[in-house]
């Protein structure tokens, strides 16, 4: 007999997964939460929230994410990565917080999964050749072994001879946990029906019988057929339970719950570099607006890592350049990443390369998604302000708030109608989107003043667009009474003229190393030259990836990532552009 853990087993029927329901199942002693997302993907997960171990089957399924009942941790369709932690609403959860998933395949009206199954779920030729009709599953308080033994003697009537009795039975073994039974009518041997019985080993003393007829009866006969099998299987269940009760109770199966991974149990390791560990294929490339090309990227290997609204990826281009693009996908839409690339008039080769040389079928190297623009999902009112291609992160964010019923407005500023990108997403957001076309800088400021009036408690604003628009919005928001921490910016690029003339000393407090930063060289470069692994992304002070905590010293901020209050606090620095005004900076690395 094969190791049951290496086999595929049914864990549910397809009709057990109606819209927004969470099915509670068990296989080989392990409880699973099974749920269908709005894109029809079936998730089979360990039935346990990573946070406090509460069963996820009592949570909620909104079609995109599963939310734990206890402290509201949200997990994404497919990846089971944590997308939001209500107790830390301003922070992006670490990518390493990812629930255990099991494979899932729907076949013959059943959902198949397994501990560590090999290959694909079993193909049953007699079902493939027919029109399978799934019967009602029955739980049994008996081991799979006992149930299979009873099934060998099971009797039922062919569909066309339900009223008769004493049909002859023919048994066909189908592997360790399945058999096919053919009922042959006593009076007319040409009248037959075949059913395949799969026995799901729930625990050492419990099973579920899942049965599929090879051929679907006529609509008018279906209920009678289902009742016939329910009755006959009910009798079998009683026999199996009587047989099991005569035997000593077996030891329960013990499902090993994975220990919290090292990545979660220790401080997360810093990413070591400007790395591109993922390979994705361009599944689709289309012009979503004038000069804006959209790319749909799918994995070439493992499932894509979890992203959160506001996240971006680094795209490493064939010409060696690295560019950042926001993911536009809504929550739960996790089978691909969709990005929009604006052809820059003064392209230094990044957007140009993507527009001209990258085509459908090409493979690109990208970073894992990184979120330096996290979305709070607890605001009473959220204002999104997008200039041009700055709409991309806003689309992901708006799609996250909409199913939660959280009020938002998306103001989309663009030159003209033909510059509006991703109409197919915007059309799902309804009246919450307002388009502002062809405004002059003065008109834009007037509009921003109107949009940003009336700040109130628990309002949040997210702004992404060209630098001058962001600066205008920053001033207008401050004048309208928006506190610094309620207004969030994402810059395309840092247009500040970087002054790298200073020279100073950096002391690495944890490493007990002191290094010199000469003029013309960045802190980031000095660190890397001395073997300190440092993550980075845009390397121009816009994205916030290369941040380092500062313990002591005066910072010469030259980035556009930090808010004014964060700058004033003086406890963090963007090492790619910012420097020191004091002779010495003590860094907490």
């Amino acid at each position: 007999m094969n190791d049951p853990k290496s086999l595929w087993h049914p864990v549910a029927t397809s009709i057990d997964l109606p819209r927004h329901h969470i099915f509670h199942g068990q296989l080989l002693g392990r409880e699973v939460a099974v749920w269908r997302a709005d894109d029809d993907f079936v998730n089979v997960w360990e039935n346990r929230c990573l946070h406090r171990g509460v069963r996820l089957s009592i949570g909620t399924n909104d079609g995109n994410e599963l939310t734990c009942r206890y402290h509201g941790w949200r997990y994404a369709n497919r990846s089971a990565g944590c997308t939001y932690i209500p107790a830390h609403p301003a922070d992006a959860p670490a990518r390493t917080i990812c629930n255990r998933t099991f494979p899932a395949v729907e076949r013959y009206g059943l959902v198949w999964s397994g501990e560590d199954p090999v290959g694909e779920p079993p193909l049953v030729p007699i079902l493939d050749a027919g029109t399978p009709f799934t019967l009602r599953s029955l739980p049994v308080n008996a081991s799979a072994e006992v149930v299979l033994a009873q099934l060998g003697d099971h009797r039922f009537q062919p569909v066309d001879a339900l009223d008769g009795d004493h049909a002859a039975m023919a048994v066909t073994e189908l592997g360790d946990f399945a058999l096919a039974l053919t009922a042959i009518a006593a009076s007319t041997p040409t009248t037959t029906s075949t059913a395949v019985f799969f026995v799901q080993p729930v625990d050492s003393d419990r099973s579920v019988i899942r049965a599929v007829l090879t051929d679907t009866p006529a609509d008018s006969e279906q209920i009678a057929v289902l009742r016939h099998h329910a009755t006959r299987l009910g009798q079998l269940v009683a026999l199996a339970e009587t047989a099991a009760a005569d035997q000593p109770a077996p030891e329960p199966m013990v499902a090993t719950i994975d220990q919290v991974s090292l990545a979660l149990s220790v401080m997360p390791e810093r990413e070591t570099n400007r790395s591109a560990p993922l390979r994705v294929q361009v599944a689709r490339k289309w012009e979503t607006a004038h000069d804006i090309m959209a790319f749909e990227l799918v994995s070439t290997g493992n499932p894509l890592p979890t992203f959160q609204p506001g996240a971006h990826i680094d795209v490493h281009l064939p010409n060696g350049l690295v560019r950042q693009y926001s993911i536009t996908n809504g929550p739960g839409d996790t089978a691909c990443y969709r990005i929009g690339v604006k052809l820059e008039a003064e392209s230094t080769g990044g957007s140009q390369a993507l527009h001209d040389t990258v085509n459908e079928g090409d493979v690109l190297a990208i970073s894992e998604p990184r979120n330096n623009f996290p979305l709070r999902r607890d605001a009473l009112r959220t204002v999104f302000i997008a200039g041009g291609i700055g709409v991309t992160p806003m689309l992901a964010m708006a799609q996250a708030l909409q199913p939660m019923g959280l009020a938002f407005e998306l103001h989309y500023f663009a030159q003209a109608e033909e510059h509006l990108a991703f109409n197919e997403i915007r059309s799902t957001l309804g009246d919450s989107v307002t388009v502002h076309l062809g405004l002059s800088p003065g008109e834009t400021s007037a509009e921003l003043t109107r949009v940003l009036q009336g700040y109130d408690h628990a309002n949040q604003a997210y702004i992404c667009g060209p630098g001058p628009m962001l600066e205008a919005a920053r001033t207008i928001a401050a004048e309208a009474g928006w506190p610094d921490q309620a207004v969030h910016f994402e810059y395309f690029k840092n247009t500040t003229e970087i002054d790298n003339s200073s020279s100073f000393e950096i002391a690495l407090a944890r490493s007990a190393v002191t290094l010199q930063v000469p003029s013309g060289t960045t802190i980031l470069e000095v660190l890397r030259d001395h073997g300190v692994a440092m993550p980075s992304s845009c390397e121009q002070g816009a994205c916030g990836t290369c941040v380092v905590p500062v313990i002591e010293g005066d910072i010469d901020h030259q980035d556009v990532h930090l808010k004014q209050t964060e700058r004033d606090a003086g406890d963090q620095i963007m090492t790619c552009v910012s420097r020191a005004t004091s002779d010495r900076l003590v860094l907490d690395i």
Partner: protein, 212 residues
Amino acid sequence: MIKLYDYELSANCYKQRLMLSLLDVPYESVPVDFFPGLEHKSDEFKKINPLGHIPVIDDDGYVLWDAHAILVYLAAKYDPSGQWYPTEDPQLLGEAASWLLFAEGTTNTASAARLYVNLGYDFDIDVCRAGAHRLFRVLDEHLWFREREGLDWVCSGSHPTIADIAIFPDVVLSEEGGVSRLDYPALRRWTDRVKALPGFTIMPGVFSVGTS
């Protein structure tokens, strides 16, 4: 206004609160110190209900006890549509009566197991749990076939009845008594449908369904 002699953690009192909420009928809850005070067994309370049980309602001087009897009264009096207690439809009415008796069974098994676990009642817990599983198995099959016929509720009408309300609390709180619903997927789907009813209300241990 209706007075409901009430205990927050009682499944039978929750049946009344749920019914009143679904019917959008205002009421006043009169807390009875069921545990640990055993106020329902006091001489004072026995003047209201000589059986010493809650819930009891007092509707403007009309006093009625017994959880399922109160459901009959509330629905008959306060549901002008006549759907919750379908007096105009003899077949549905018969089904409702049948399932109300079934609810006596779930009260005496699943909810009894909960009293054993939560409040230390002296019941034979194995008998309670086995009885609950026997009834849940029947109800799960019943509801599975109802779904097959495009029907959502315990009785065969298109609208829920007091039978759903009589059974729901015993089912939805069963895990507190150590009665898992893992083997009853159709029963679990039905609890989702009850929770999605307009006017649904929760109690400790009963969660609302998702917002979308």
